[in-house]
Symmetry: C2
Subunit: 344 residues, 2 copies
DNA sequence: AACGTTACCGGAAACGTTTCCGGGGCGCCA
DNA sequence: TGGCGCCCCGGAAACGTTTCCGGTAACGTT
């Protein structure tokens, strides 16, 4: 049995295809009775408007695309992040009956070229780009073409809509917390890529330290992997005087850091304070539990959805918003610095 | 400036749109010279064939959809399962210049209805469904409609293509390993959902134990979360005689299990053997490192891509394949059972 | 009774592409 | 030189839908 199109449905009902179309889309003038008749017949025959035909005529796809790097080597914890955000995003989009698709760009592909292709072929009506860089050509591309989009993360030239986590806020609060505990030699560890998020975190950290007349004891950049955490530990152990606290822009580093420290007999939370950035389920189960900052990614995704919908509706007044996070204290930064001093 | 379509490009070149189309698709009779001329002009003007128009005419979208549950509670441990598989899948699909999109189905949505909708609207030419259940209506749906698909995981009625991890093999090897070490009271912990994977794992475990005249000391089912792991520990501690080993169908359980054991003074790998299923980056950094089974998810994804392409090409001879995994020994199952006996 | 208004519906064009069909050159052979 | 086949190319139909435009019937108003 072939697929049933609008023509077949109209023939079955003995009416014109225009009426059927109107009834299905609840738009234009059509009587309530026929609308109901069409709807039930469509249900019965399993008719669904063909997406390509509709898109071709309407010029709009009714979908939003979230393009994401699936670079697994870098973002070991990345999947749950995206999934949670997607849940919230999808919830919000479905209110306007828009769909969400995810466009995975593998490590072999060039993110820019990938996006150009997607935009050219008009895959979606709006795009969410993530993992924004300090200078990001994708932002230029999308603004130039007039395609609605929201950046999940700041970066690139100004004037576009973005939503981002509160990197400075977290950095500042972390510094306050450590300084209040008496720490003065605070090291800073982050990913060695040029994603914008670590740049913001680093900047926030420097600013907050400067407010206390301090500067980072070290700024160490390495791959955002468990192995990178091991390297970080080596670097910290080699320093003299040793820092009494270390701030991690990526929690993944904590894994290797903890292990290397354990081998060296250094106890996080006792001999040295460690604070991560974003809480994930694993953080609580590290020993000692890692102090991080929690955020409802679902709510974050919902807000993202709101912004996307606003963007589709109007190109004016781009929202630029920082999303707050709340501290989730663990046992990894309870060390008073005087204990740690003995190591130096 | 409006989007440039095939008509504009043809006008610019002074030739017909049919020739342009032929040149762009390298099909039909067209001279090498004009092909080159068209290609370069397309490049220059930034022409890309409109996807909807093409799809409408061709009746094929040129994309494969991987539909995946974004049930975030489930995949709590820094997972990159889907991402890694996507990388491999995408690599393989791009050889036939097909695209990959990911369809996220949130916890609020009904996976079956979601798929029905996607298929009706002809989102993709082929589908990969994951998280297959013991009886899975989606399999029936897709076979009935004659839509090419591959199940990432067994399940549902027979006769369709699937690719799955080697649950029985892993279960058998784990049992052999534990029995060889002298264990006889082996407990089995798994997710309390009805996904097919845990069913296969459990079955393989029972079979392997039966071959030694044994049966599981317990079959404990709980939520696949860190908290579930805590519950698991409670259950194990309450048993008398206590099992000397526990097999985990999901590694996430290890997080809560380790912690609750630590609180109770029970040392995994010394007082009790623990073995997980699939290795992820965190497993190596647990203390003690969790014994699991490793698999190249990228290669797995590439194989998946091959199968999908074969499915698109021909509906005959569905591939049904189990993917091997290799043990990655940690320190969590080195306990000889005689030590553990003292607990019972 | 004539006319304007309203509510609903049908015909047909349009969206952008691919592909079938036919036709014009051109070379080759008899 | 005529006929035949081959290589390219142009015209036009088709894919399935939405929407503009016009038209009919019913109804109220003057």
């Amino acid at each position: 049995m072939g697929r049933v199109g609008i023509r077949e449905l109209a023939a079955e009902l003995g009416m014109s295809i225009s009426t059927v179309s109107r009834a299905m889309n609840s738009r234009g003038e059509v009587s309530e009775a026929t609308r109901e008749r069409v709807r039930s017949a469509a249900e019965r025959l399993g008719y669904q408007p063909n997406q390509s035909g509709r898109t071709l005529r309407r010029g709009a796809t009714g979908t939003v695309a979230l393009v994401m790097q699936t670079n697994t080597a870098r973002t070991a914890m990345g999947e749950t992040f995206y999934f949670s955000v997607c849940d919230g995003l999808q919830q919000e989009l479905s209110k306007r009956s828009m769909d969400l698709v995810l466009l995975p760009v593998g490590p072999a592909k060039d993110p820019y070229r990938y996006l150009v292709n997607a935009v050219d072929r008009h895959i979606a009506d709006a795009y969410v780009i993530s993992n924004t860089h300090r200078v990001d050509r994708r932002v230029e591309l999308l603004t130039e073409r007039g395609v609605p989009f929201v950046a999940l993360g700041r970066g690139g030239p100004e004037g576009h809509a973005w939503l981002d986590l509160d990197f400075e806020g977290v950095a500042a609060e972390t510094v306050e917390r450590l300084v209040a505990a008496g720490h003065t030699r605070i090291a800073l560890a982050s990913d060695d890529g040029d994603v914008n998020s670590t740049w913001e975190y680093t900047r926030g950290c420097r600013q907050a330290l400067a407010a206390h007349g301090l500067e980072p004891a070290a700024e160490i950049r390495l791959p955002d992997t468990p192995e990178g955490g091991g390297l970080l530990a080596e670097r910290l152990l080699a320093m003299a005087p040793a820092p009494t606290a270390v701030m991690l822009a990526q929690e993944t580093l904590a894994l290797g850091l903890y292990r290397r420290f354990a081998e060296a007999g250094v106890r996080p939370g006792v001999d040295l304070a460690v604070v991560g950035f974003r809480k994930n389920p694993v953080c609580d189960y590290l020993v000692p539990a890692l102090t991080t900052f929690a955020v409802s990614l679902e709510a974050y995704g919902r807000r993202l959805g709101e912004i996307v919908l606003a963007r589709v509706a109007s190109a004016k007044d781009p929202v630029q918003e920082v999303w707050p996070m709340t501290i989730s204290p663990g046992d990894s930064d309870t060390a008073p610095p005087r204990v740690a001093e003995r190591l130096g």
